[in-house]
Symmetry: C2
């Protein structure tokens, strides 16, 4: 066999969703880019804030030597210190640079944390619907996902989580604000989850970690604040990136932070730094580390995403779509009027509207609309959304 | 346990070499940076060529939207096309953009190729001495290294390779110009290796791949050219980066190329693109992809490394050190006059000269000098090298 069994199967599995994207590309070629309404990808349509360009211009003009050189695998000390200071603006515990590892995006950070903690066959509990890429990230380190349901409003279902906990449970992985639902977990939910994990950590004699994937933390609406897992639970990691809030997804810059009070901290941090190296990342891209050092307080104009959310929600509600209004991120996850979400997404596709079936996120009977698109796309798609709904 | 068994062991294993680095840092603090001669790291001392800065300035001023966005996981088409055109300047077979995957450095590229091809328990043959990071890269994908000896001049030992080939052999991984020896494999060697691998591929009914790690390809001396594996063998991959020849190691930009005539090419390429994504790299940093598109013909001034090599070789030879003069890269791998290379490196350390024992590369009885350092470090260290040699 030319490629490994596992990769061959993965190529096969992902091909149906790839076919949908190919269908989209075909439609764009046939009907013109402007007549296809593509809500399929979480690729931010907003450009990075102007300050990003100013900072980059400054940095590439700076003649100080050694700026593109190797560094500690954890990242530049100055950057890590700035990140720690930033975390100290909203967390009760005090971070220092040593608890921060700069990573190749949040994808890199998640792999670093997972490789650090997972022994083969250990399990990670993930509430559904979820970002399915997590399956690959677990499998990279021979971990196994334990998917658990959430409540109808996508809040955590503690009975389902408790039922899934076993001696093999190494962590719970949450994503808030959530892709694909836009849900933000409340402080009370995090506290209850922490209580549950503390209990079973004690029972099994080793910590069950809480890993929080938070690239959408700054993308929230109606003045909501995203509670921090660090205030709820000591055995926690937070992973994030600047892909969404600074619209820099192609630059692969993010970080992983461990709680200042995490057990066996020295070993955990050494493991994270080692894993960042041996996974082949080596370190986060140097220039982008220097850039984000000055951009931690910045973000794109979130009110623009809020306007998109409001226009889309208003339109879809008026056509009879059922959904929970997203509190953050830039995804809407409505119910499909058909049980078969793949068929419904295909019907939308016939109107040149590209979305993703909820089944692709462990949430059948729904579909995901990524509304990080231009207003023109939203306005253009509304008649099609109405037409398809009327049919069912 | 807070970290996985495997990572805990790896932290333990690597701690002796880390202690040496810590010792170095201590010495720098005690004796002053200028009085410690650090040859321990392959961190290029030359700054990137001025054109790198010009190109980066141009790029960050370019207002075209979408430049920091997600792209195909394989990388920007324009960049991949430029890389293919560059490969076509010295390879017989014709590359197109589709055979190129832009990666997070060569470390990222190697992991992408290894994950694509390796099933658990399969073996990769690696000639010693070698870059020990390969062990981690194999282990990431549950592969096993089969280390084989080379001849006294570090050329390939085909008997040793043939003895190591089994049904489990999935690839041979070579590094030319070599870290730590500076060896460049000759065209005849690559042809003989290709013949051997073709024979056993046929015998076992599946390709045994040749993976060539070539970040030092442009760093060669005395007018030597590095032969290309692609002209020798169809079942081959080449992985490289711009870390050494453009002195951009911190920026994590490189690529992996598959032979245009590789078997089952479509599946292999789909696997590489998938692995780049699911390993959490997602794509190579966007800005650096755009930069190297214009910098493929550039490099630092290699004659400066050649001068360093010559001065060091001349000095060490006059003190009685035995070594093979490096043909490329910026490492010298002399014999230690003691059998115990760790003890010899410790003796050099007492003279504030920091090097790495050959044991750290699977080459005991040697030590590695990374001469990508300022001339001052080389001149300052020569008396110490002489003094320690005289003692034995």
């Amino acid at each position: 066999m030319p490629v490994s069994q596992k990769i061959r199967e993965a190529i096969g599995r992902s091909s149906w969703i790839r076919k949908m994207f190919e269908e989209g590309a075909k439609r764009k070629a046939e009907y013109g880019e402007d007549n296809v309404f593509d809500f399929s990808l979480g690729n931010p349509n907003l450009e990075p804030p102007p300050r990003v360009h100013q900072v980059l211009e400054d940095l590439v003009r700076d003649p100080t030597p050694g700026q593109h050189a190797y560094m500690s695998n954890a990242g530049l000390v100055k950057t890590r210190r700035a990140v720690a200071d930033y975390l100290n603006t909203y967390n009760r515990d005090r971070f220092s640079s040593e608890e921060i590892v700069m990573t190749v995006g949040a994808g890199g950070g998640l792999n670093v944390v997972l490789k650090t903690i997972l022994n083969p066959g250990e399990e990670v509990i993930i509430p559904k619907p979820y970002f399915v890429e997590y399956n690959f990230y677990l499998d990279n380190h021979q971990g196994t996902p334990r998917l658990v349901k959430t409540r109808p409003d996508f809040s955590l279902d503690f009975d389902a989580i408790e039922e899934a906990v076993t001696e093999k449970t190494r962590a719970v992985l949450i994503n808030s604000p959530n892709n694909p639902t836009g849900k933000v977990y409340a402080e009370e939910e995090l506290k209850e989850l922490a209580g549950l994990l503390s209990h079973y950590s004690g029972k099994f004699g080793q910590p069950i970690y809480l890993i929080s994937d938070e690239p959408y933390r700054k993308i929230v609406y109606d003045g909501i604040k995203v509670p921090t897992v660090f205030d709820a639970y000591n055995e926690s990691f937070m992973v994030t990136s600047f892909s969404k809030d600074l619209s820099l997804p192609g630059e692969r810059i993010g970080y992983a932070a461990a709680h200042p009070g995490i057990s066996d901290k020295k070993m955990i941090l050494a493991g994270m730094v080692l894993c960042n190296r041996v996974l082949g990342y080596v370190n986060a891209p140097a220039l982008m580390q220097r850039a984000i050092t000055r951009l931690l307080e910045d973000s794109v104009d979130i009110s623009l995403y809020q306007q998109k959310r409001d226009r889309l929600c208003e339109g879809l509600a008026s056509f009879g779509y059922e959904f929970k209004k997203p509190e953050g991120a830039f995804y809407l996850f409505p119910r499909t009027p058909l049980e078969d979400d793949v068929a419904f997404v295909a019907a939308l596709q016939d109107e040149n509207i590209l979305t993703v079936p909820g089944s692709g996120f462990g949430g059948p009977g729904h579909f995901r609309i990524a509304y990080c698109v231009s207003d023109r796309v939203i306005e253009g798609a509304l008649p099609g959304f109405e037409k398809v709904m009327k049919r069912y």
